[in-house]
Symmetry: C2
Subunit: 218 residues, 2 copies
DNA sequence: ACACCTGTATAACAACGTTATGACGCTGTT
DNA sequence: AACAGCGTCATAACGTTGTTATACAGGTGT
Protein backbone atom coordinates (compact mmCIF):
# COMPACT_ATOMS: atom_id res chain seq x y z
CA UNK A 1 0.00 0.00 0.00
CA UNK A 2 1.33 3.39 -0.85
CA UNK A 3 -1.41 5.45 0.77
CA UNK A 4 -1.39 5.11 4.51
CA UNK A 5 -3.58 7.98 5.68
CA UNK A 6 -7.15 8.61 4.57
CA UNK A 7 -7.20 11.34 1.96
CA UNK A 8 -9.44 14.28 2.52
CA UNK A 9 -12.56 14.60 0.46
CA UNK A 10 -11.24 17.82 -1.00
CA UNK A 11 -8.07 16.18 -2.23
CA UNK A 12 -10.01 13.41 -3.92
CA UNK A 13 -12.30 15.87 -5.62
CA UNK A 14 -9.34 17.92 -6.78
CA UNK A 15 -7.49 14.99 -8.28
CA UNK A 16 -9.56 11.80 -8.44
CA UNK A 17 -7.02 9.86 -10.51
CA UNK A 18 -4.39 10.07 -7.81
CA UNK A 19 -6.68 8.24 -5.44
CA UNK A 20 -8.15 5.73 -7.84
CA UNK A 21 -8.82 2.40 -6.23
CA UNK A 22 -7.12 0.76 -9.18
CA UNK A 23 -3.75 1.96 -7.94
CA UNK A 24 -3.82 -0.31 -4.94
CA UNK A 25 -1.30 -2.66 -6.51
CA UNK A 26 0.88 -0.08 -8.13
CA UNK A 27 3.88 -1.29 -6.17
CA UNK A 28 4.10 -4.06 -8.69
CA UNK A 29 3.21 -7.17 -6.79
CA UNK A 30 1.40 -9.41 -9.18
CA UNK A 31 0.96 -12.19 -6.66
CA UNK A 32 -1.12 -10.00 -4.43
CA UNK A 33 -3.47 -9.39 -7.32
CA UNK A 34 -3.65 -13.13 -7.99
CA UNK A 35 -4.46 -13.91 -4.37
CA UNK A 36 -7.07 -11.19 -4.14
CA UNK A 37 -8.70 -12.40 -7.33
CA UNK A 38 -8.79 -15.95 -6.05
CA UNK A 39 -10.31 -14.72 -2.81
CA UNK A 40 -12.82 -12.58 -4.68
CA UNK A 41 -13.90 -15.56 -6.76
CA UNK A 42 -14.35 -17.73 -3.69
CA UNK A 43 -16.20 -14.92 -1.97
CA UNK A 44 -18.58 -14.39 -4.86
CA UNK A 45 -19.19 -18.08 -5.40
CA UNK A 46 -19.50 -19.39 -1.87
CA UNK A 47 -20.09 -16.38 0.32
CA UNK A 48 -18.01 -15.09 3.20
CA UNK A 49 -18.04 -18.48 4.87
CA UNK A 50 -16.13 -20.07 2.01
CA UNK A 51 -13.24 -17.72 2.57
CA UNK A 52 -10.52 -19.74 4.28
CA UNK A 53 -6.85 -18.97 4.15
CA UNK A 54 -6.06 -22.49 3.09
CA UNK A 55 -8.52 -22.57 0.22
CA UNK A 56 -7.50 -19.14 -1.00
CA UNK A 57 -3.83 -20.05 -0.87
CA UNK A 58 -4.42 -23.36 -2.62
CA UNK A 59 -6.51 -21.64 -5.27
CA UNK A 60 -3.66 -19.18 -5.85
CA UNK A 61 -1.19 -22.05 -6.09
CA UNK A 62 0.68 -21.40 -2.87
CA UNK A 63 0.82 -22.32 0.76
CA UNK A 64 -1.03 -20.89 3.73
CA UNK A 65 1.99 -18.88 4.68
CA UNK A 66 1.79 -16.98 1.42
CA UNK A 67 -1.14 -14.97 2.70
CA UNK A 68 0.90 -14.03 5.73
CA UNK A 69 3.93 -12.86 3.81
CA UNK A 70 1.80 -10.91 1.34
CA UNK A 71 -0.91 -9.53 3.62
CA UNK A 72 0.20 -10.25 7.15
CA UNK A 73 -2.81 -12.43 7.88
CA UNK A 74 -6.49 -12.70 7.17
CA UNK A 75 -7.41 -9.16 8.21
CA UNK A 76 -4.85 -7.84 5.77
CA UNK A 77 -6.32 -9.82 2.94
CA UNK A 78 -9.80 -8.86 4.03
CA UNK A 79 -8.72 -5.25 3.80
CA UNK A 80 -7.67 -5.76 0.20
CA UNK A 81 -10.91 -7.58 -0.51
CA UNK A 82 -12.85 -4.74 1.05
CA UNK A 83 -11.12 -2.25 -1.23
CA UNK A 84 -11.71 -4.55 -4.17
CA UNK A 85 -15.43 -4.49 -3.39
CA UNK A 86 -15.54 -0.73 -3.47
CA UNK A 87 -13.61 -0.80 -6.72
CA UNK A 88 -16.22 -3.07 -8.26
CA UNK A 89 -19.03 -0.92 -6.94
CA UNK A 90 -17.43 2.14 -8.50
CA UNK A 91 -17.00 0.25 -11.76
CA UNK A 92 -20.65 -0.76 -11.75
CA UNK A 93 -21.70 2.85 -11.21
CA UNK A 94 -19.39 4.03 -13.98
CA UNK A 95 -20.85 1.46 -16.36
CA UNK A 96 -24.35 2.62 -15.57
CA UNK A 97 -23.38 6.24 -16.14
CA UNK A 98 -21.86 5.46 -19.52
CA UNK A 99 -25.28 5.24 -21.10
CA UNK A 100 -26.73 8.30 -19.46
CA UNK A 101 -27.17 11.94 -20.36
CA UNK A 102 -24.03 13.99 -19.68
CA UNK A 103 -23.22 15.32 -16.20
CA UNK A 104 -25.70 17.87 -14.89
CA UNK A 105 -28.80 15.75 -15.38
CA UNK A 106 -30.31 14.47 -12.10
CA UNK A 107 -31.21 11.31 -13.99
CA UNK A 108 -27.58 10.34 -13.48
CA UNK A 109 -28.12 10.30 -9.71
CA UNK A 110 -31.01 7.91 -10.19
CA UNK A 111 -28.83 5.71 -12.39
CA UNK A 112 -26.15 5.61 -9.71
CA UNK A 113 -28.79 4.63 -7.19
CA UNK A 114 -30.08 1.81 -9.36
CA UNK A 115 -26.56 0.55 -9.98
CA UNK A 116 -25.78 0.70 -6.27
CA UNK A 117 -28.82 -1.37 -5.39
CA UNK A 118 -28.17 -3.80 -8.23
CA UNK A 119 -24.63 -4.28 -6.92
CA UNK A 120 -25.92 -5.05 -3.46
CA UNK A 121 -28.26 -7.63 -4.96
CA UNK A 122 -25.86 -9.16 -7.49
CA UNK A 123 -22.83 -9.29 -5.22
CA UNK A 124 -24.31 -9.87 -1.79
CA UNK A 125 -21.09 -11.31 -0.43
CA UNK A 126 -19.05 -8.27 -1.37
CA UNK A 127 -21.76 -5.99 -0.07
CA UNK A 128 -21.76 -7.89 3.21
CA UNK A 129 -18.00 -7.60 3.53
CA UNK A 130 -18.14 -3.89 2.79
CA UNK A 131 -21.07 -2.92 4.96
CA UNK A 132 -22.16 -5.95 6.94
CA UNK A 133 -19.20 -7.14 9.03
CA UNK A 134 -19.28 -10.47 7.22
CA UNK A 135 -15.67 -11.44 7.91
CA UNK A 136 -15.24 -12.30 11.59
CA UNK A 137 -12.90 -10.08 13.53
CA UNK A 138 -12.25 -7.81 10.58
CA UNK A 139 -12.80 -4.08 10.50
CA UNK A 140 -11.12 -2.19 7.72
CA UNK A 141 -8.11 -0.05 8.41
CA UNK A 142 -9.06 3.56 8.85
CA UNK A 143 -6.78 4.27 5.89
CA UNK A 144 -8.60 1.83 3.61
CA UNK A 145 -12.01 2.74 4.92
CA UNK A 146 -11.31 6.44 4.50
CA UNK A 147 -9.99 5.97 0.99
CA UNK A 148 -13.00 3.92 -0.09
CA UNK A 149 -15.38 6.35 1.51
CA UNK A 150 -13.71 9.31 -0.11
CA UNK A 151 -13.87 7.65 -3.52
CA UNK A 152 -17.46 6.53 -3.31
CA UNK A 153 -18.75 9.72 -1.74
CA UNK A 154 -16.48 11.89 -3.85
CA UNK A 155 -17.89 10.54 -7.08
CA UNK A 156 -21.40 11.18 -5.86
CA UNK A 157 -20.60 14.71 -4.71
CA UNK A 158 -19.07 15.38 -8.10
CA UNK A 159 -22.23 14.33 -9.87
CA UNK A 160 -24.39 16.45 -7.60
CA UNK A 161 -22.06 19.41 -8.05
CA UNK A 162 -22.45 19.05 -11.80
CA UNK A 163 -26.20 19.33 -11.33
CA UNK A 164 -25.76 22.43 -9.20
CA UNK A 165 -23.49 23.93 -11.84
CA UNK A 166 -26.01 23.11 -14.55
CA UNK A 167 -28.77 24.66 -12.48
CA UNK A 168 -30.84 21.49 -12.41
CA UNK A 169 -30.56 21.33 -8.63
CA UNK A 170 -29.94 23.82 -5.86
CA UNK A 171 -28.47 23.44 -2.39
CA UNK A 172 -25.34 22.02 -0.84
CA UNK A 173 -23.63 19.35 -2.89
CA UNK A 174 -22.32 17.49 0.10
CA UNK A 175 -25.59 17.57 1.98
CA UNK A 176 -27.61 16.43 -0.98
CA UNK A 177 -25.13 13.71 -1.89
CA UNK A 178 -25.21 12.45 1.67
CA UNK A 179 -28.97 12.34 1.61
CA UNK A 180 -29.00 10.37 -1.63
CA UNK A 181 -26.39 7.94 -0.37
CA UNK A 182 -28.27 7.38 2.86
CA UNK A 183 -31.50 6.73 1.02
CA UNK A 184 -30.11 4.36 -1.56
CA UNK A 185 -27.93 2.52 0.93
CA UNK A 186 -30.85 2.12 3.28
CA UNK A 187 -33.07 0.47 0.74
CA UNK A 188 -30.22 -1.66 -0.60
CA UNK A 189 -29.25 -2.87 2.86
CA UNK A 190 -32.82 -3.55 3.97
CA UNK A 191 -33.57 -5.45 0.80
CA UNK A 192 -30.34 -7.39 1.19
CA UNK A 193 -31.36 -8.25 4.76
CA UNK A 194 -34.69 -9.60 3.56
CA UNK A 195 -36.63 -6.75 5.14
CA UNK A 196 -38.01 -5.35 1.88
CA UNK A 197 -39.50 -7.31 -0.91
CA UNK A 198 -39.71 -5.05 -3.92
CA UNK A 199 -41.67 -5.98 -6.98
CA UNK A 200 -40.05 -3.27 -9.09
CA UNK A 201 -36.78 -2.35 -7.37
CA UNK A 202 -35.65 0.18 -9.96
CA UNK A 203 -38.93 2.01 -9.66
CA UNK A 204 -38.57 2.06 -5.90
CA UNK A 205 -35.08 3.53 -6.15
CA UNK A 206 -36.44 6.25 -8.39
CA UNK A 207 -39.34 6.87 -6.04
CA UNK A 208 -37.12 7.02 -2.99
CA UNK A 209 -34.70 9.41 -4.64
CA UNK A 210 -37.42 11.58 -6.12
CA UNK A 211 -38.32 12.95 -2.68
CA UNK A 212 -34.94 14.50 -1.80
CA UNK A 213 -34.34 15.58 -5.38
CA UNK A 214 -37.70 17.30 -5.70
CA UNK A 215 -36.96 19.10 -2.45
CA UNK A 216 -33.86 20.57 -4.06
CA UNK A 217 -35.19 21.52 -7.47
CA UNK A 218 -34.60 25.12 -8.46
CA UNK B 1 -41.45 -21.40 19.00
CA UNK B 2 -45.14 -21.24 18.64
CA UNK B 3 -45.35 -19.11 15.53
CA UNK B 4 -43.95 -20.93 12.55
CA UNK B 5 -45.19 -18.90 9.61
CA UNK B 6 -44.61 -15.18 9.12
CA UNK B 7 -47.70 -13.25 10.07
CA UNK B 8 -49.14 -10.85 7.59
CA UNK B 9 -48.69 -7.17 8.17
CA UNK B 10 -52.43 -6.77 8.48
CA UNK B 11 -52.70 -9.33 11.25
CA UNK B 12 -49.98 -7.61 13.22
CA UNK B 13 -51.65 -4.26 12.86
CA UNK B 14 -54.97 -5.72 13.92
CA UNK B 15 -53.60 -7.37 17.03
CA UNK B 16 -50.07 -6.35 17.89
CA UNK B 17 -50.02 -8.05 21.27
CA UNK B 18 -50.54 -11.47 19.77
CA UNK B 19 -47.32 -11.10 17.84
CA UNK B 20 -45.23 -9.47 20.52
CA UNK B 21 -41.62 -10.54 20.38
CA UNK B 22 -41.73 -11.05 24.11
CA UNK B 23 -43.82 -14.17 23.66
CA UNK B 24 -41.01 -16.07 22.05
CA UNK B 25 -40.45 -18.15 25.13
CA UNK B 26 -44.05 -18.62 26.10
CA UNK B 27 -43.69 -22.38 25.85
CA UNK B 28 -42.06 -22.18 29.22
CA UNK B 29 -38.47 -23.13 28.72
CA UNK B 30 -36.47 -21.08 31.15
CA UNK B 31 -33.15 -22.55 30.11
CA UNK B 32 -33.55 -21.23 26.62
CA UNK B 33 -33.96 -17.77 28.06
CA UNK B 34 -30.85 -18.24 30.18
CA UNK B 35 -28.76 -19.37 27.24
CA UNK B 36 -30.00 -16.56 25.02
CA UNK B 37 -29.24 -14.02 27.71
CA UNK B 38 -25.75 -15.42 28.18
CA UNK B 39 -25.25 -15.26 24.44
CA UNK B 40 -26.61 -11.73 24.31
CA UNK B 41 -24.21 -10.64 27.02
CA UNK B 42 -21.27 -12.16 25.23
CA UNK B 43 -22.42 -10.64 21.98
CA UNK B 44 -22.77 -7.17 23.45
CA UNK B 45 -19.49 -7.33 25.33
CA UNK B 46 -17.18 -8.97 22.83
CA UNK B 47 -18.90 -8.69 19.49
CA UNK B 48 -19.99 -11.44 17.14
CA UNK B 49 -16.56 -13.02 17.23
CA UNK B 50 -16.83 -13.77 20.92
CA UNK B 51 -19.89 -15.89 20.28
CA UNK B 52 -18.75 -19.47 20.54
CA UNK B 53 -20.92 -22.41 21.45
CA UNK B 54 -18.45 -23.48 24.09
CA UNK B 55 -18.27 -20.12 25.81
CA UNK B 56 -22.00 -19.59 25.68
CA UNK B 57 -22.65 -23.02 27.11
CA UNK B 58 -20.04 -22.55 29.83
CA UNK B 59 -21.48 -19.14 30.67
CA UNK B 60 -24.90 -20.69 31.00
CA UNK B 61 -23.50 -23.41 33.24
CA UNK B 62 -23.86 -26.29 30.82
CA UNK B 63 -22.04 -28.26 28.21
CA UNK B 64 -21.67 -27.70 24.50
CA UNK B 65 -24.37 -30.20 23.78
CA UNK B 66 -26.89 -28.08 25.64
CA UNK B 67 -27.09 -25.64 22.76
CA UNK B 68 -27.81 -28.54 20.45
CA UNK B 69 -30.62 -29.97 22.52
CA UNK B 70 -32.19 -26.56 23.05
CA UNK B 71 -31.64 -24.92 19.69
CA UNK B 72 -30.41 -27.63 17.37
CA UNK B 73 -27.10 -25.90 16.78
CA UNK B 74 -25.59 -22.52 16.34
CA UNK B 75 -27.96 -21.29 13.62
CA UNK B 76 -30.87 -22.06 15.90
CA UNK B 77 -29.40 -20.02 18.72
CA UNK B 78 -28.49 -17.28 16.28
CA UNK B 79 -32.11 -17.20 15.22
CA UNK B 80 -33.17 -16.63 18.81
CA UNK B 81 -30.50 -13.97 19.20
CA UNK B 82 -31.69 -12.28 16.05
CA UNK B 83 -35.22 -12.11 17.41
CA UNK B 84 -33.86 -10.88 20.73
CA UNK B 85 -32.16 -8.03 18.90
CA UNK B 86 -35.40 -6.94 17.28
CA UNK B 87 -37.08 -7.15 20.65
CA UNK B 88 -34.50 -4.81 22.13
CA UNK B 89 -34.80 -2.44 19.22
CA UNK B 90 -38.56 -2.33 19.68
CA UNK B 91 -38.10 -1.72 23.39
CA UNK B 92 -35.71 1.14 22.71
CA UNK B 93 -38.22 2.72 20.35
CA UNK B 94 -41.02 2.28 22.88
CA UNK B 95 -38.92 3.92 25.57
CA UNK B 96 -38.23 6.89 23.31
CA UNK B 97 -41.92 7.21 22.47
CA UNK B 98 -42.90 7.23 26.13
CA UNK B 99 -41.76 10.83 26.53
CA UNK B 100 -43.30 12.12 23.35
CA UNK B 101 -46.51 13.83 22.36
CA UNK B 102 -49.39 11.37 21.84
CA UNK B 103 -49.81 9.49 18.54
CA UNK B 104 -50.56 11.68 15.56
CA UNK B 105 -47.61 14.01 15.97
CA UNK B 106 -44.89 13.51 13.34
CA UNK B 107 -42.38 14.31 16.05
CA UNK B 108 -42.89 10.71 17.15
CA UNK B 109 -41.51 9.49 13.83
CA UNK B 110 -38.40 11.58 14.41
CA UNK B 111 -38.08 10.12 17.91
CA UNK B 112 -38.28 6.60 16.50
CA UNK B 113 -35.59 7.49 14.00
CA UNK B 114 -33.30 8.85 16.68
CA UNK B 115 -33.86 5.78 18.84
CA UNK B 116 -33.20 3.48 15.88
CA UNK B 117 -29.91 5.17 15.12
CA UNK B 118 -28.93 5.24 18.78
CA UNK B 119 -29.59 1.51 18.97
CA UNK B 120 -27.35 0.88 15.98
CA UNK B 121 -24.62 2.88 17.67
CA UNK B 122 -25.05 1.54 21.19
CA UNK B 123 -25.51 -2.10 20.24
CA UNK B 124 -23.39 -2.48 17.13
CA UNK B 125 -23.07 -6.23 17.56
CA UNK B 126 -26.83 -6.77 17.69
CA UNK B 127 -27.28 -4.43 14.78
CA UNK B 128 -24.71 -6.38 12.78
CA UNK B 129 -26.42 -9.67 13.56
CA UNK B 130 -29.80 -8.28 12.60
CA UNK B 131 -28.92 -6.44 9.42
CA UNK B 132 -25.42 -7.50 8.55
CA UNK B 133 -24.10 -10.99 8.21
CA UNK B 134 -22.09 -11.00 11.39
CA UNK B 135 -22.64 -14.66 12.31
CA UNK B 136 -20.99 -16.91 9.75
CA UNK B 137 -23.31 -19.19 7.84
CA UNK B 138 -26.41 -17.82 9.53
CA UNK B 139 -29.42 -16.39 7.79
CA UNK B 140 -32.58 -16.10 9.83
CA UNK B 141 -35.47 -18.43 9.24
CA UNK B 142 -38.04 -16.88 6.97
CA UNK B 143 -40.49 -17.32 9.84
CA UNK B 144 -38.32 -15.38 12.29
CA UNK B 145 -37.31 -12.80 9.75
CA UNK B 146 -40.89 -12.25 8.67
CA UNK B 147 -42.09 -11.94 12.25
CA UNK B 148 -39.41 -9.41 13.14
CA UNK B 149 -40.01 -7.47 9.98
CA UNK B 150 -43.75 -7.40 10.56
CA UNK B 151 -43.27 -6.16 14.09
CA UNK B 152 -40.74 -3.46 13.32
CA UNK B 153 -42.46 -2.25 10.20
CA UNK B 154 -45.90 -2.68 11.70
CA UNK B 155 -45.15 -0.38 14.59
CA UNK B 156 -43.88 2.25 12.22
CA UNK B 157 -46.88 1.96 9.93
CA UNK B 158 -49.12 2.33 12.96
CA UNK B 159 -47.44 5.56 13.96
CA UNK B 160 -47.68 6.94 10.44
CA UNK B 161 -51.30 5.91 10.22
CA UNK B 162 -51.99 7.82 13.43
CA UNK B 163 -50.54 10.91 11.76
CA UNK B 164 -52.73 10.38 8.73
CA UNK B 165 -55.76 9.99 10.98
CA UNK B 166 -54.83 13.15 12.87
CA UNK B 167 -54.41 15.00 9.61
CA UNK B 168 -50.79 15.94 10.31
CA UNK B 169 -49.64 13.97 7.26
CA UNK B 170 -51.20 12.83 4.02
CA UNK B 171 -50.43 9.94 1.71
CA UNK B 172 -50.02 6.19 1.97
CA UNK B 173 -49.07 4.95 5.42
CA UNK B 174 -47.10 2.02 4.11
CA UNK B 175 -45.24 4.00 1.51
CA UNK B 176 -44.32 6.76 3.89
CA UNK B 177 -43.31 4.34 6.62
CA UNK B 178 -41.11 2.50 4.16
CA UNK B 179 -39.47 5.73 3.11
CA UNK B 180 -38.76 6.68 6.72
CA UNK B 181 -37.37 3.27 7.50
CA UNK B 182 -35.13 3.27 4.47
CA UNK B 183 -33.79 6.70 5.31
CA UNK B 184 -33.11 6.05 8.97
CA UNK B 185 -31.70 2.60 8.34
CA UNK B 186 -29.42 3.94 5.65
CA UNK B 187 -27.85 6.53 7.86
CA UNK B 188 -27.62 4.15 10.79
CA UNK B 189 -25.94 1.48 8.71
CA UNK B 190 -23.54 3.84 6.99
CA UNK B 191 -22.56 5.40 10.28
CA UNK B 192 -22.12 1.96 11.78
CA UNK B 193 -19.87 1.03 8.86
CA UNK B 194 -17.71 4.07 9.46
CA UNK B 195 -18.86 5.75 6.29
CA UNK B 196 -20.46 8.75 7.98
CA UNK B 197 -19.01 10.76 10.75
CA UNK B 198 -21.77 12.88 12.23
CA UNK B 199 -21.08 15.68 14.62
CA UNK B 200 -24.71 15.96 15.69
CA UNK B 201 -26.34 12.64 14.82
CA UNK B 202 -29.76 13.47 16.22
CA UNK B 203 -29.89 16.63 14.17
CA UNK B 204 -28.95 14.66 11.10
CA UNK B 205 -31.72 12.14 11.70
CA UNK B 206 -34.17 15.02 11.97
CA UNK B 207 -32.80 16.62 8.84
CA UNK B 208 -32.92 13.39 6.87
CA UNK B 209 -36.48 12.67 7.94
CA UNK B 210 -37.66 16.21 7.38
CA UNK B 211 -37.42 15.80 3.62
CA UNK B 212 -39.88 12.92 3.22
CA UNK B 213 -42.15 14.28 5.93
CA UNK B 214 -42.32 17.75 4.39
CA UNK B 215 -43.19 16.13 1.09
CA UNK B 216 -46.23 14.55 2.76
CA UNK B 217 -47.51 17.47 4.80
CA UNK B 218 -51.17 18.30 4.24
C1' DA C 1 33.47 -19.48 -0.14
C1' DC C 2 30.88 -18.16 3.51
C1' DA C 3 27.54 -15.68 6.40
C1' DC C 4 23.14 -13.32 6.00
C1' DC C 5 18.67 -12.32 4.91
C1' DT C 6 14.13 -12.91 2.56
C1' DG C 7 10.51 -15.68 1.29
C1' DT C 8 8.28 -20.30 1.03
C1' DA C 9 6.61 -24.76 2.64
C1' DT C 10 5.83 -28.00 6.38
C1' DA C 11 4.19 -29.00 10.71
C1' DA C 12 2.21 -27.99 15.03
C1' DC C 13 -1.07 -25.43 18.16
C1' DA C 14 -5.40 -23.80 20.24
C1' DA C 15 -10.10 -22.98 19.25
C1' DC C 16 -14.12 -23.61 16.59
C1' DG C 17 -18.73 -26.22 15.11
C1' DT C 18 -20.37 -30.61 14.86
C1' DT C 19 -21.21 -35.54 15.77
C1' DA C 20 -20.90 -39.97 18.16
C1' DT C 21 -20.85 -42.40 22.54
C1' DG C 22 -22.14 -43.48 27.17
C1' DA C 23 -24.40 -42.39 31.59
C1' DC C 24 -28.37 -40.52 34.09
C1' DG C 25 -33.31 -39.70 35.23
C1' DC C 26 -37.92 -39.97 34.04
C1' DT C 27 -42.30 -42.27 32.14
C1' DG C 28 -45.49 -45.94 30.96
C1' DT C 29 -46.12 -50.81 30.90
C1' DT C 30 -46.22 -55.50 32.62
C1' DA D 1 -42.05 -53.49 41.86
C1' DA D 2 -39.14 -54.24 38.04
C1' DC D 3 -38.20 -53.21 33.40
C1' DA D 4 -37.81 -51.31 28.72
C1' DG D 5 -37.91 -46.89 26.22
C1' DC D 6 -37.25 -42.20 25.73
C1' DG D 7 -35.17 -37.74 25.99
C1' DT D 8 -31.30 -35.06 28.10
C1' DC D 9 -26.75 -34.18 29.54
C1' DA D 10 -21.55 -34.53 29.66
C1' DT D 11 -17.41 -36.46 27.66
C1' DA D 12 -14.66 -37.28 23.95
C1' DA D 13 -13.48 -37.30 19.25
C1' DC D 14 -13.24 -35.44 14.23
C1' DG D 15 -12.33 -32.17 10.70
C1' DT D 16 -11.45 -27.41 9.81
C1' DT D 17 -10.23 -22.79 10.97
C1' DG D 18 -6.48 -18.86 11.88
C1' DT D 19 -2.11 -18.43 13.59
C1' DT D 20 2.69 -19.37 14.86
C1' DA D 21 7.13 -21.84 14.98
C1' DT D 22 10.49 -24.37 12.53
C1' DA D 23 13.23 -25.85 8.63
C1' DC D 24 14.58 -25.36 3.98
C1' DA D 25 15.77 -23.07 -0.20
C1' DG D 26 17.87 -18.94 -3.15
C1' DG D 27 19.87 -14.97 -3.85
C1' DT D 28 23.26 -11.06 -2.11
C1' DG D 29 27.28 -8.82 -0.13
C1' DT D 30 31.65 -9.27 1.71
Amino acid sequence: MTVTTPPTLASVLANPAAHSLATTFEDGDERRRAVVEAAARLLAEEGPHGLSLRRIAAEAGGSTQLVYTLFGGKPGLADALYAEGFGRLAAACRAALAQCPPPGDPERLMAIGRAYRAFAQDEPAFFAVMFGKAIPDFTPTTATSGRCRANTFGNLVGEVQACLDAGTLVGSAEELARLCWVTVHGLSALESAGMLRLEDPDAFVDEALRTPLLAHRP
